[in-house]
């Protein structure tokens, strides 16, 4: 298979089940098709259904997929490894998505751990090398009062049999298996080395039966904390670049003041109250204390609407996360610029249009407000607008 950036497309699909996070995919029901063209390419289908994953290679047409990804093999590997920015590949059309690309960009990082090309260097490290460093990595302060013997039976090249004795704050390694043992772990020497250098995830190795444990299971789990992490000699630590992902959640409170407050007092009564500039006569929506054009104070309130005309609109296909909840909005949604009846010609306001009405939305359409069942004097009182078709469009 042709390698790009040291990885083949097949490698990426082969590791998919290992990288899958079933607990994050409980609500997901989707089939994703992949077509990678050129050398080393092929077609794959990943079916994710309520926490399960099935990956299969496909000969012929990709069928039954909600969304499909089409790209050349090199771009596919590049994007997967983060060597090529996904957005750039999408922009230049080197990567095409049939379906919602934004949906995939949010979903995939959630349900898969990132693909990491297997590091070449740690392969050279054998289980024997690692066992040899155990005594120097021992942390006596963590093992106070601990007395145990741990046996390792590691098969294959670089393997062997060892017993680690922890007693009275000291640690010793002996060849061969002592009797009795607190716990005995049997596995391939390669598996042990992989777990220690971090290329094999310990939990996966245990659950998939690659590691056989006899004796005290809890003791086996506790051993890690008595030792410092094994570091591959000569490996530069800076190869790992730390990135912290955080969500700062901050509560906010906003005061309307008495002038814009009238707007909210109005919509509590299902009325739109604008205030009229004494100089230029425009009806400010929402009302402001001062007309910024004429620089005069505005006192007079007038009721406008409740129906109005759509002057412009935006249909949004790309939903960014709602900053208030982190949830992603359903697409497409439409925001309409509406001038209420009785308002002056430039005083448009942006309002959400009912989703079912989007296909019939046109500039000049008449709309009427959609109110929340209970109005309390908040921006949530006015859900948005819907087409007012009884009167027909102008």
């Amino acid at each position: 298979m042709t390698e790009y950036f040291g990885t083949t497309v097949a490698d990426i699909f082969a590791t998919m089940p290992k990288r899958f996070k079933p607990e994050e995919a409980k609500e997901v029901d989707i089939a994703i098709g992949y077509e990678a063209t050129g050398e080393g390419g092929g077609k794959w289908k990943a079916t994710i259904k309520h926490g399960t994953l099935k990956v299969e290679t496909v000969e012929g047409e990709l069928t039954g997929c909600k969304t499909t990804i089409h790209t050349d093999a090199e771009t596919f590997v590049g994007v997967t490894l983060g060597k090529i920015a996904a957005l750039d590949a999408l922009s230049s059309q080197k990567l095409r998505v049939a379906g919602d690309p934004k949906f995939l960009m949010l979903l995939l990082p959630k349900i898969f751990t990132p693909y990491a090309a297997p590091a070449k260097k740690p392969d050279a490290v054998t289980a024997r090398d690692i066992i040899a460093t155990i005594a120097e990595r021992f942390r006596p302060e963590k093992a106070e009062g601990v007395a145990m013997t741990i046996g390792y039976d590691l098969a294959g090249e670089g393997g062997g049999k060892w017993t680690i004795v922890i007693r009275e704050g000291k640690c010793a390694v002996r060849e061969g298996l002592a009797d009795p043992l607190t716990v005995k772990m049997t596995m391939e020497a390669k598996t042990y080395a992989g777990m220690m250098v971090g290329t094999i995830e310990a939990v996966t190795a245990f659950t998939s039966g690659q590691v056989k444990i006899e004796g005290d299971m809890a003791a086996a789990g506790a051993t890690a904390k008595y030792f410092l992490k094994y570091v591959v000699p000569g490996a530069t630590e800076a190869e790992e670049l730390i990135s912290l992902r955080v969500i700062n959640s901050i509560e906010q409170r906003f005061a309307t003041g008495p002038v814009m407050g009238r707007w909210f007092a109005g919509i509590r009564e299902k009325k739109f109250l604008a205030n009229r500039c004494p100089k230029c006569g425009r009806t400010q929506i929402p009302p402001r204390e001062i007309c910024a054009w004429c620089r005069v104070r505005v006192h007079e309130f007038v009721e406008v609407g409740p129906k109005g005309v759509v002057t412009h609109f935006d249909i949004v296909y790309f939903a960014s996360p709602d900053p208030l909840t982190g949830a992603v909005r359903d697409t497409p949604y439409a925001t309409a610029y509406v001038v209420f009846d009785g308002a002056t010609e430039r005083e448009a306001i942006t309002l959400d249009l009912k989703q079912e009405d989007i296909p019939r939305l046109k500039e000049g359409a008449r709309v009427r407000p959609v109110w929340a069942e209970v109005t309390t004097g908040s921006y949530r009182d006015l859900i948005g607008v819907e087409l007012d078709e009884e009167e027909g469009s102008i």
């Binding site: 410092l228 730390i242 990135s243 912290l244 992902r245 955080v246 509560e251 996360p321 208030l324 908040s378």
Partner: protein, 153 residues
């Protein structure tokens, strides 16, 4: 004309901001954090012309602008508490329950203090000048909290 103060139409609306974001520690920052996480060692960077050792790490000496990014030195995990304050209010964004001591600790071999939490001593008894040592965290998070706290030697 005086303005009529009328608060009957004043509303206070609740909002929330929850934006996912990330922070890149950078190459030096990562080395610093990884040394704490994996080797339980605190590393500093030394400016030879100034003779000063900085922690947390920085690429350049802030006084003479010499590049010091490669001049790592291992610092002690013990040091002197040079200053402190006591945090007495609670907030979900804070790392510990109040009251707790937030200290500036000049580690052995360093010229700049490292800010961290001091535990194992009553806030009423703490004073500048005491010797403290780092206690490393069991569960690591790739942050400075991989040192869980400092406590008196």
């Amino acid at each position: 004309m005086t303005m009529q103060e009328d608060h009957k139409d004043c509303f206070v609306l609740e909002g929330k901001m929850a934006l996912p974001n990330q922070n890149f520690a950078g190459r030096l920052g990562s080395r610093f954090l990884i040394a704490i996480r994996d080797r339980k060692k605190i590393m500093g960077l030394k400016c030879n012309p100034c003779g000063k050792t900085f922690v947390p790490p920085r690429e350049y000496c802030e006084k003479c602008w010499t590049k010091i990014a490669d001049n790592w030195v291992e610092l002690g995990t013990e040091g002197e508490l040079v200053n402190f304050t006591v945090v007495r209010y609670g907030d979900r964004h804070l790392p510990k329950k109040p009251p707790y001591i937030l200290g500036q600790i000049r580690l052995d071999g360093a010229d700049t203090p490292l800010v961290h939490i001091v535990e194992g001593i009553d806030p009423r008894d703490v004073e500048s000048g005491i010797r403290v040592k780092a206690v490393f965290a069991e569960k690591t998070t790739n942050t400075i909290m991989d040192i869980d706290h400092f406590e008196p030697v």
